[in-house]
């Protein structure tokens, strides 16, 4: 019973869906952490203890103090087969070329990292010229910088620009200094690399090392050393994973959605044939099985095609993801087994899922329908369908509210996606109910082209509300996704930017320029109030999780209080934040002034701090406040993120100055840019797919309308009139879909706005990116008109009575 022509649209829909799923899962499986080149020669690496759970997963591990590290190094180098145990120290050091950070390096995290010279052996780095650094002021740099041995070079460190002399060159990023210098700049150690004797078994050495380390660290070998990749890479990779997971989920959803409406549509057109089958003796079960088997065959073959296309597409997309910044530059596509298996299964599974409800309806076709007109109108929707639709809409609204109140922007984006899915599915399920009233509302504009055409258009849409709704569904999907996702992202970032700007009481803000942070000397040059963030680990055994990482901000209390408009002190006084053991905590810590607060600093030393004041959670952009000097003492490499200044000044080297609104708008610019790209990607996937589905259903519909149109023509309509009729019909359907989709999106956006307003504590403007909306609706309209007018035009070239009748 399988007909190639009839299955073509379902085939195309499944194939495209599986292509997307296959590409996304292949990329997803390829995104595994890479062992950094710097540690390639260290077959066994001991990593300091992992930090406890936190909102941000990309915090570095809790470092060993210099003495603890020295003790471990001593014991590890005594193990059999270990040639050397090298503490790997990493700190901020950025060589300046011609007085500015090198433009080529700005994107690479390891380009502005410094290490002790002994670390070079962990990556097998060899001098290509000159000598190793032996004393303070000597440095080995990357050959790519174009410096010569003996040349002076300025290196930006956390303190400020420092004069160095190049003693040697290597083929690798970053700078290397004498080990003692490195130990002073980075007292805390987070990894110890073991260089093994030739032929030694890493696993045996690892076993022995575990005995030495005990619970004070993790011993890693082989691919597991990938966790040592720079946190920035890990973060990028994580964002990429989110993007890919969401894309795969969306692709799956849109595919099931589009394919099921395609199936529903094809089966609706085959009612007469199904009725005939029932009349000559097919049971309901047989009809259902037949429909299911057809779907399975279409799904399996389309899935195979999709898999091949997806596999071919994956490397191209992979390169794109790296360029855009969703994957680190080390990313390569690997053809793993599981994505192939998943994609192979996806085709049939999608098809069978998609055909499920349509096949139930097909099984209920009554034999008599073979004898009646094809477009029998049923009740718009059944009770089960109404209940499902309502439930889906409710879920969608709940999720939208969740989106708006989620703490992290990226979590919110995920929620948003599921919210839109639920809303769209709900709206589609309920659409047939609204089609009738909507068409009646739209009556006057449609009637204008001419009495007969208006009547026919309206009549068609009204008597076959299910059919109309089925054709409008992909438009609904496309428009709702585009409007809701883009509107949500725009509204959210605008709201946050407004909130940020309101919080700051300063004229201008100095931020790093092509550097990860500002040095102390740069801060001093500005004369403003600076934030010096560092990560500390809370070690209080009474408050799990162990070693919870926290962001501590090093500040000068008066300056900070003056620049911060939202600072609200609940208990104690900020003025007491002066001693080396003082700390200000937020209300959620549940502590009172004078209570102890033990932490481990970045140098690995434990200090028992004392609470001097408590502020509200929203008062500070971090977890703790400590005196700036305390941060500098424990973290020689800490960099200043932001400086608030009163008047405009000339920014120092490696910095830029912005006014407050510009700063607020761009504070998360990198992140916002990624999210916006992500949004466009999702819109692209859904709109592209939706548009194809629109064309698909309308082509099908045109084929089904052939007999009708021929009749209308025989009744005296001119060709022009018929073309007009078809154009008006498809425009009406796009209009219905766009209105419904827009309504769904609007409901979602309103709940997002309500949630945001509560969170930010101020009214929030609804931002709708109209160009995106106009583009999407225009695309649907264009495709809809084309895909119904072209087949009609071809049909009309024949004389009205002479074309074959497709039963």
């Amino acid at each position: 019973m399988l007909s190639v022509r009839r299955s073509a649209s379902a085939f195309v829909a499944v194939a495209i869906g599986v292509t997307l799923v296959a590409a996304a899962t292949l990329l997803l499986a390829s995104g595994r952490p890479q062992v950094p080149d710097r540690l390639a020669r260290a077959a066994v690496v001991v990593q300091s203890p992992e930090a406890g759970a936190s909102a941000d997963q990309f915090v570095p591990t809790r470092p060993w103090s210099a003495t603890a590290a020295a003790g471990l190094v001593g014991r590890l180098s005594g193990l059999p087969d270990v040639v050397a145990a090298v503490p790997d120290r990493t700190f901020y050091a950025q060589p300046l070329v011609d007085g500015r950070p090198s433009a080529a390096d700005s994107g690479r995290e390891d380009a502005h990292q410094g290490h002790g010279w002994s670390s070079a052996q962990l990556g097998g780095l060899r001098l290509t010229a000159g000598e190793p650094p032996r004393r303070a002021g000597e440095v080995v740099v990357d050959r790519a910088l174009g410096l010569r041995v003996g040349a002076p070079v300025t290196v930006l460190t956390a303190v400020g620009p420092e004069p160095y002399t190049v003693t040697g060159l290597v083929d690798g990023p970053g700078v290397h200094v004498a080990d003692e210098v490195a130990a002073a700049l980075a007292p805390g150690v987070r990894a110890i690399g073991l260089v093994l004797a030739p032929g030694a078994d890493p696993e045996r050495v690892a076993m022995a090392a575990r005995g030495v380390v005990g619970g004070d660290g993790r011993v890693l070998t082989g691919a597991a050393r990938g966790v040592l990749e720079p946190p920035g890479d890990a973060r990028t990779r994580w964002i990429g994973m989110q993007v890919l997971t969401a894309t795969a989920a969306l692709a799956g959803f849109v595919t099931v959605f589009v394919v099921s409406s395609t199936f529903a549509f094809t089966l609706a057109q085959r009612r007469r044939e199904l009725g005939l089958l029932r009349a000559v003796g097919a049971t309901g079960r047989q009809v259902r099985r037949m429909v299911g088997a057809e779907a399975l065959a279409v799904g399996a073959s389309a899935g195979l095609v999709g898999l091949l296309l997806g596999a071919a597409l994956a490397p191209v997309l992979g390169r794109l993801l790296v360029d855009v910044g969703y994957e680190p530059s080390t990313f390569r596509v690997r053809y793993e087994l599981w994505p192939v298996a998943v994609s192979l299964a996806a085709g049939p599974v999608i098809a069978v899922l998609a055909v499920w409800s349509a096949s139930r309806r097909a099984a209920r076709v009554r034999p008599l329908e073979a004898l009646r007109e094809a477009a029998v109108e049923q009740r718009p929707i059944g009770r089960l369908r109404a209940a499902t639709g309502t439930l889906l809409l409710a879920t969608g609204v709940a999720l939208s509210v969740g989106t708006a109140t989620a703490d992290e922007a990226r979590v919110a984006a995920q929620y948003a996606l599921y919210a839109v899915m639920a809303l769209v599915a709900g709206a589609t399920v309920l659409a047939p109910v609204v089609v009738g009233p909507l068409v009646r509302l739209l009556r006057s504009p449609v009637r204008r082209p001419g009495g007969a055409i208006g009547m026919l258009v309206r009549g068609g849409a009204l008597t076959a509300t299910r059919r109309t709704a089925a054709i409008a569904a992909p438009v609904l999907l496309t428009v709702a996704f585009a409007v809701l996702v883009s509107g949500m992202v725009r509204t959210t970032s605008a709201a946050y930017a407004a909130g940020r700007a309101d919080n700051v009481n300063a004229g201008w803000i100095v931020v790093p320029d092509r550097a990860p942070g500002l040095s102390d000397r740069a801060v001093a040059a500005t004369g403003g109030t600076a934030l010096l963030p560092t990560t500390v680990y809370r070690t209080d055994p009474a408050t799990p999780p162990k070693d919870r990482p926290l962001t501590a901000l090093g500040v000068e209390p008066e300056g900070f209080a003056a620049a911060n408009r939202v600072l609200t002190v609940v208990a104690g006084s900020l003025d007491d934040l002066t001693g080396a053991d003082t700390v200000v905590v937020t209300a959620s810590a549940n502590l009172l002034p004078s209570e102890p607060y033990p932490v481990v600093f970045a140098d690995g030393t434990s200090v028992s701090l004392r609470v001097v004041a408590v502020v509200t959670d929203t008062s500070i952009p971090g977890d703790l406040l400590v005196p700036r000097a305390v941060v500098r003492a424990h973290d020689p490499s800490a960099l200043t993120s932001t400086v608030y200044v009163r008047d405009r000044i000339d920014p120092p080297v490696g910095a830029r100055i912005l006014d407050v609104p510009a700063w607020a708008a761009e504070a998360d610019a990198a992140e916002d840019r990624l999210i916006w790209l992500f949004t466009l990607l999702l819109i692209g996937v859904s709109a592209g797919y939706g548009a194809i589905a629109v064309a698909n259903t309308l082509l099908l519909a045109a084929a089904g309308r052939a007999a009708d149109l021929r009749l209308i023509r025989m009744a005296g309509a001119t060709r022009r009139q018929v073309i007009w009729l078809v154009t008006a019909e498809s425009a009406l359907v796009v209009l219905i879909g766009a209105l419904l989709g827009g309504a769904v999106a609007f409901v979602g956006l309103l709940s997002v706005r309500a949630g945001l307003a509560e969170q930010v504590g101020a009214p929030v403007d609804l931002m709708v990116p109209w160009p995106v909306v106009a583009g999407v609706v225009g695309l649907c309209l264009l495709l809809a008109v084309l895909s119904s007018v072209l087949p009609t035009w071809r049909l009309l070239r024949h004389r009205p009575a002479r074309s074959p009748v497709g039963g």
Binding site: M1, R272, V280, G281, A282, L371
Partner: protein
Amino acid sequence: MTTDTVTVTGLRAVYGTGTRRVTALDGVTTSFASGTFTAVMGPSGSGKSTLLHCAAGLDRPTEGSVTIDGTRLDDLDEDELTRLRRDRIGFVFQAFNLVSTLTAAQNVELPSRLARRRPPAGDVTAALDAVGLADRAGHRPSELSGGEQQRVAVARALITRPAVVFADEPTGALDSASSRQVLRLLRALVDDHGQTVVMVTHDPAAAAYADRVLLLADGRVVDELTGGITAAAVAARIAEREIVAESSC
């Protein structure tokens, strides 16, 4: 000899409610003896198709019962009814008789296939041969003329040897030559195979092929002709009834 293949008693069929209420059948009791050819006639809207649908188990009457080959249809569930249709009943409709994606031969063997029997290839060919279409076995409905499509439907009704074949205006869309061919085939079902045929028609010439003519008006059986049926006799009887109907208004 006079066993009845199909018996209907007190059939009433009512559609719609309120002002849109239509009584399509208003108490029809009759039977169709096995090995006979009955023509059902009557004005448009008189309930002919409804009678056929109810008698064939395609539709359930509002009241009354139908018995086919000794089986009461009201006792059957949907699947049992389907199986009964598959095994005991054949259909020829006015149009849309064939599944458009299947060839003529496949359409013929469809009921057997649905019953999970594969008819011997010879049977299919023989059935198509009997309707004069042996050489068109591999053609799809879109490649056949209306009359040829009707004949394929008759072949389909031949192959499972159903107890009764229902035909609703099988010649309504055909020219007189094609009509004669189809009618002769239906006649042959009765004469050569002892099957029962019930046919709805508007054409007195078609009715002349039947052994008996049932006249319906307003959902009731109003007249019946048996023996020596000719087109002229049927036409005369219908004209008579129309005069009676008009004068009674």
